[in-house]
Structures are given as C-alpha cells and as structure tokens.
Symmetry: C2
Subunit: 383 residues, 2 copies
C-alpha cells in the first residue's frame, strides 16, 4: 500500500490535508492511555481547545467517534424527553441533527431555509416567540450547501428574546476556519470533529460546553438515555486528564490525541484573528476565481457563504463524474454534492487548514488550476 506515492491533493470539505508533523504523531508507537508520557498530552489538548474556541471556562470533551457523535452528546445530555428544540436548518446536517434530537425524545421545530439561503434573524425571532425552547441548534456551516450562519447575530436574538434557551452550534465545518467566539457570543455548546479545519485525521468528536450547559446537565431530571455519549462518564475523565491524572472509562484514541495535540499547538501559535483572516482571504480567492469562470454558487449570498469551503453548481452540459474524474487526473480531489435535493448538480471544494495557512504549499493554486483546466478540456468555455 504505497498510498504516500500516489497521493492526490485532498481539497474536499474534510478530511483536509494534514501537516507532516500531525501524520508523524499519528504513527506514535503503542503508548498506554494512562502512561506519564500520554497523560500530559491529553491534558494539554483539553486546555488548547479552550484557546481555539476562545473560552475561559468552557468544558472541552475529546471523545473517540465521528463528529456525528456530538449530536448524540447534545441530545442525550441536555435535552430531556418532550422538551422543545428549535433547529435552524440550512441543509443535510440540519436534517440529521433534527433526526438525532427526535431519537432522544425532543419535540423538534425546524426553520428550514431554501437551499442556498441562510436563516434570517426575523425567522429566528418569529420561531422563538412560539414556544419556550430548551435548545436552539445552529449549523454554523452546513457542509452540504456551504451556507454560513450568522451565529453572532442569532445568539443576540436568542439572548434577548429567550435567554434560557441553550445555544448549540454545530461547528464541524467551522471551528478552526470561521470566526467563532464561544464566550463573547454566549454559546453553550460548540461541537466539531478532528478532520476539518482542526487538521487531524477523522476519529475525534470534539465539543465544548459552557458552565451553564454543564449545570443544566447536572440538574437534569430524566436519566441520561445513552451510555457511550453520557457526560456522566466523560466529565470525570476530562477533569482527571486535565489535572494530569489518568482515569478509565473507555480507551482513548491515543494516536489521534497525539495528532490533535500537535495540530492545536500549531494552530494556537499564531493569533486566531490571523487564522480567520487567512481563511476569508483564501475563500475570496477561490470564490472570485470560480465567479470569473462564470459558475454559480450554491449559497445565494456571498456574505452567507462559508470561508472554509465553496459549493458550486456544475455549468450546463458538464457531467458530475466527468468533472470530478478530470480534476482527479490532475492529482487533485474535490467533492461531489451531498444535499439530497441537488446532489448531482454541484461540487464542493474545501479550503481549510494548512492548504490556507501555508500558501507555500500552493494548494489553492493547484485546485484552481486543476478545475480551470478540467472545465476547458470538457468543453466549457466560460461566460
């Protein structure tokens, strides 16, 4: 398996390209999960997550699992059966979060945006006026559409109109590339995964909960309807490792946590403001180029489009498989569509992590070159 030799540049909206040092950490030899060499790595990673999420006292969780598991953690720890949840739905991931909440007994009200549209503050306000919601969920970037939610604006509406409602942000495709200020914006849970802008291979469900969310969890009346996702198991583990003690609930994914530690140190070594700006700039470069080719974006408004990815409709006459294969022939991988209603009509480019922060790698140039050449070869003449 000489996968290194045939490596194609991975420019999908996650997994993203990984730094060499992160990959080296992935191949750390066998290490006990309670060894004196691993415990401080886990402990420090918890602390570094606070820096990344811009929180003083938020409680990070690092759990073996896909990002999806974060929905189970929110739904099973914070929402009790028959409580009301408001889901702002801007694509596939809103549908799924709603489904997950229902599994755990929540009454879900969805505000569904048209494909490519973001939820307006007025819609949020209208929805909040109908009921007293236990939680509101916001997909910061719906990876299926590339729509960016105005988390700050929405939070302000919630704080004003329904201050007891917990604000839950699905930041899978945002943490590490979009501006997200946990404390300043009053977020109660932000959940993410390792393989997007955090720049670590998939396999970690990462979440930060506010002190208020932890209190709500501790005061819940109904038993927690999950075993693996229960914070009752994970909270003591996080506290133990942060205070540099080993403790066992389930064997942590040691190698992934070494990789996370390496990446978080890289990320937090420069101001986050710089990182946000780099992603905006990269996004503008990609989007301006795509626009100049005469292609149309899935997000209908540039200000509500993600900075870590770009979702683009195929031009007329271009077959999805043809374009993806042609781009791959240039050793670059981009992604097809995911939103069920338009899956075959658009493609997605990821621009996160080292592809953005280390321009000397020329990843952005490469993906643009591969895309432009491929379209030309397939007979697309532009606008």
């Amino acid at each position: 398996m000489s996968s290194q030799d045939n490596h194609k540049l991975c420019m999908i909206p996650g997994p993203v390209e990984f730094h060499e040092d992160v990959l080296t950490s992935m191949s750390t030899p066998a290490t006990s999960h309670v060894s004196p060499s691993f415990i401080p790595v886990f402990g420090e990673s918890i602390e570094l997550l606070r820096k990344l999420f811009l929180t003083e006292k938020g409680q990070p969780f690092i759990v073996s699992g896909s990002g999806t598991l974060g929905w189970d953690m929110v739904s099973s720890n914070l929402v009790e059966p028959d409580e009301d949840a408001l889901v702002l739905n801007t694509g596939y991931f809103g549908d799924s979060f709603a489904e997950c909440l229902k599994v755990y007994g929540a009454n879900v009200v969805e505000v569904k945006a048209e494909i490519g549209e973001a939820t307006t503050l007025q819609e949020v306000s209208d929805a909040l006026s109908t009921k007293s919601f236990k939680v509101i969920t916001i997909t910061h970037v719906d990876t299926s559409t590339g729509v960016l939610a105005d988390v700050k604006g929405i939070s302000e509406v919630v704080k004003k109109q329904s201050p007891n409602t917990l604000i839950i942000v699905d930041g899978v495709c945002s943490v590490g590339c979009e501006e997200i200020r946990f404390d300043e914006w009053g977020i109660d849970v932000a959940l993410t995964a390792s393989q997007k802008a955090i720049g670590v291979p998939p396999g970690l469900s990462i979440l930060v909960a506010s002190e208020r969310a932890i209190q709500v969890f501790k005061n819940r009346k109904a038993p927690i309807p999950s075993y693996y996702a229960s914070w009752a198991h994970w909270l003591p583990i996080m506290n133990a490792y942060e205070s540099r003690k080993g403790m066992y609930f389930a064997t942590p994914p040691v190698q992934l946590i070494y990789a996370l530690n390496t990446s978080l140190k890289q990320i937090t070594s420069i101001p986050l403001e710089t990182r946000f700006e780099q992603h905006k700039k990269a996004s503008n470069f990609i989007k301006n180029t795509v626009e100049s080719l005469g292609l149309k974006f899935v997000p209908k408004h540039r200000e509500a489009a993600a900075n870590g990815m770009t979702a683009v409709y195929y031009p007329d006459g271009i077959q999805p498989a043809d374009l993806l294969q042609k781009v791959a022939s240039y050793n670059v991988v981009i992604a097809g569509g995911l939103h069920r209603a338009i899956a075959t009509k658009y493609f997605r480019i990821g621009h996160m992590g080292i592809s953005v922060t280390e321009p000397e790698r020329k990843h952005l140039d490469n993906v643009i070159q591969a895309l432009t050449s491929s379209l030309k070869e397939l007979g697309y003449s532009g606008k």
Copy 2:
C-alpha cells in the same frame, strides 16, 4: 515530541505493540472517505473481519469509537425496553455492560462470579431456567481479572436450554488471541476494539452480528433509542463499502481503517489455529515463569485464565507504584489493577499480537526480565 525515541515496550492488556506497517498506515495522508483508493480498503477490511471471526455470513461493523461503543450497539439495537438480559459477570467489564444494558431499558439479571472465578455451566443453566432472556452476555476475557469464559460450553447450554436467547460475546480482550468460532459456536454478536489482539491503535469499535441478530434488529418494535449507535444508519454503510461503493453517514476514521486493513492482512495470512496456539504457548511461558517466582494469579484456575494477558497479585511487601515504576525503568510498561475491589493489589501483563507472533522481537523475554529484575531489586526473594 520525540515519542519514538523514548518508546517503552507496551506490555499492557491493550493497547498492544503495533507493527511498523500498521503505524505507517496510520500516517496515510489525507484521503477522501469516498475516494476510489479508500473504498476498496474499507470493503476488504469488512471481508477480512469475517475471516478473523470465523464466520461466513456474519455482518461486520467498523465504527469510529472505543470498544465500549459496542455495548451501546448491542443494547440499543437488539434489546427493547423491559426485555430481559442475562449478564455473566466476571469483573469490571461485566459490571459496565450490565450498566449499559440498563440505560437502554433492559431488565438485567447478573450472575456474578467471585473475583478470579469463571461462571460455571451449572450457574448459567440455573439462571436460564428462571426467565426467557432476550440476550445473554459473556465477557470472553474480563481484562480487569484475566478470567477466561468458556464461550463454547456456555453457548451449548444456551442453545439447548434457551435457543431463542441471543448470545453476545464481549471479545474486546479475546478476538485475535483467544479461540473464538463465531459460526461453529452459534454466536450472535461478538464485539471488540482495535487496540488489543487486532493490533491497531485505539479508535475503532468492531462488531460482527449473526444473520439472526440482524433479523431481530430488523423486526424490533420499539424505535432504536440511539442515533450514533443505530445499525439503521451503519448497516447501509457497511453494505455499500463491501460492494465497493462510497456512502455517507458519518466520516469514517480513514487512517485507522487503513491500519486495520494492514493488520488484518497480516493476521489472516497464517491459519488462525496457529495464532491461537501461539498465544496459548506465550501465555504458558509467562504464567509458568510468574508461578516459578512464587506469585499468585488473580484467576483461580489456570484453565479459566486468559491467553492474551496475565493478572498477578503483588507479593507481600511490594508497593504497586514501586513495581510499575521499577519495571518502567527497564523501558517496559505493564499495567496496574482495574477491578475496583482489588485495584491496588495486582498488576497485569499483556501478551498479544506481534509480541507473541513475532518472537524475534523478544518482547516476552523483555517483560519477564524486567519483572524479575524489578522484584529482585525491590527485595522480593521469591518463594
């Protein structure tokens, strides 16, 4: 982080030492989870698991998570609220599996063995005569005590006395080192994790379900009370990848699956019978040496002791921390106790995977040497 340089031989009952090729696979560069290079790797891994579990038609699941997640999969997919579950408890992991089943609404009856004892077939028969159990769970090796269950014998009792009861084997510390014959013994679910005898870093929950178990799942009446652990989501994914198609529910842990593929190919390249014998022989070597030092095992009967690990009481006068630290000074890591009632009274040595199958690495000699020298230095004079 030069963890490679300071590596201590990891002889705990998981994570175990990993083959260099497995670690190389762990550092596979970013690869799309639906790319033509990854799909066959995932698909083949599913097929190779059937070989490892000795099953023709069992349905493997490979899910991002710790081994613990396997309990949630069993409890939420196969047991409906208020159904009866019989838990054969030989240590910490029996306690926890019982707790997990209760979370999902099962009525749990436990047959608790004394510490170091295995459940007898008579006890199983007696328990089965009291109720009609939906499932019986057997911890094949309880890593907290090193007690080995007679899965074959227990299965025969169940088949005879309660043929509708699903037989669930927690094989976290057995699959890959203990004889386990999924089809021949009539097992319905065997669950395990990546970091023990399968020889892959932690982060994969691995499970095989019988055709009968899948039917029970498909015919269940109550809704599945989990989102992430629901087979309704994972079964289509496993079917898709096995038929060499990509499909999305949650981003699979690509690098861990590359590593799994590498390890499964190594494991299945020799007959499993040879592998079982190698582990028995290694276990005898360790246990005979430990016995010759005058130390006492946690398992009370040699025939009911695990072949992939050895649990040993500290001799009088030796402090736990002293012995573990002394052994570590020889660059070898062994584990302390885990069973709550005796945690500070015993230690555990793992002997699985390449430490057993590749004797030229001298891992067994090294751990024995470190242990013997450490005891001597601490003033233990033997029997």
